[in-house]
Symmetry: C2
Subunit: 222 residues, 2 copies
């Protein structure tokens, strides 16, 4: 199967980095085709504006969705953006590996979505949600938190993790047609000892080995 | 009163730009003290890493929260970040003006949060939510959407806007102690005609004139 991992964390030695490396080992060992968008190594620029495009539809007024439709019809995405779109179009499974920051994606990951998910190319013209461009593909969030599991239970300190992740799982992934797998969440890796971290990496390996047998979850709308 | 507006949109002539200019006119006319973080004009860099700091606690391993605590104790934030923190500490009311992108903040606004909301300085050590550093201050989201109002009702095309905004209002603003005012939402300004847009700007002016009489909403947890 064809797998794309999109990753960002400012510290390569972080547990997110370890999870990325482990996923690469697992998928390679299992004989899958793997591509990685390591947004740290790429120095990916998260600012969305005319830099997304080589074409210009309206030079007087920048309306991003108009430019995206025009670029879709005129091969006008910048090489950086086109490259990411091609990876999504290529894959069967997309994994986002990131630390949960402020109840959401870190800015670099969010900028990847802002710039790469483009009207015309990845959604629009009646192609949303169940009719989305990427229907048939699966996606999974793989994330770490600062706080412990109990902080993310319903009524917990930060509240239920499902609600916190819904804008990402529903508003980004399902919006463009992905079926969403159960998120893989490591709570508070900074508070685990070495043996516990190794056990988490083994559990991740085991899950990824069998991931193509998993059924999508129902994220649900609001 | 002292008001901080944090703003980003890639097109200055956008309706977000018009809302920013109108807010500045209104608050100036009403005699308030106003500061604006126009993240577009500032060319604000949304990438969070060692560039946030002039100090280094651990040169071998970058753990952002450790560096933030160290910077708090050693006057070690970069001038760019320190300047934004001082504005938040100064204000009575903070307004975020932005287009809702992918059910969330555009990356540049998210990067402002990732970098400026720093452990030690703006939260932590028992200071969260009701005990947050900025308790007594108010905040309001002022945003535009692409879709119409009915798309953001419970069970609507995108689902209830309250749930979509909760990670921002609860996980960012209330987390650091702000009381949150009812968000000001302009649905689908691209589909309004000139008279309707003028009416929306007048309505915004009217609301802002009386905003210091408003009671906070209950965002609620998950």
């Amino acid at each position: 199967m064809r797998i794309l991992i999109v990753y960002w964390h400012p510290e390569p030695q972080s547990f997110n980095g370890a999870l990325l490396r482990r996923a690469c080992e697992t998928f390679t060992r299992e004989g899958h085709d793997l591509r990685v968008s390591n947004l740290l190594d790429m120095g990916f620029d998260p600012v969305s504006d005319r830099r997304n495009f080589s074409t210009v539809s309206d030079p007087q007024y920048f309306k991003q969705q108009i430019e995206e439709i025009y670029a879709t019809e005129n091969n006008g995405f910048s090489a950086e953006i086109e490259g990411e779109q091609l990876k999504i179009e290529w894959c069967d499974l997309m994994i986002w590996q990131f630390p949960l920051w402020w109840f959401g994606l870190p800015a670099v990951m969010k900028g990847w979505v802002d710039r790469v998910f483009a009207m015309g190319r990845t959604y629009g013209n009646g192609r949303f949600y169940e009719s989305g461009v990427f229907r048939g593909k699966k996606a999974m969030l793989s994330l770490t938190t600062g706080g412990p599991r109990e902080a993310y239970l319903p009524g917990g300190f930060n509240g239920a993790i499902d609600g916190i992740l819904r804008p990402i799982q529903r508003g980004m992934l399902e919006f463009v047609g992905f079926s969403v797998l159960q998120p893989h969440i490591i709570y508070g890796p900074a508070h685990l000892d070495e043996a516990q971290r190794r056990a988490q990496l083994e559990g991740f390996d085991l899950r990824l080995k069998n991931i193509f047998n998993e059924e999508p979850i129902t994220v649900g709308s609001y």
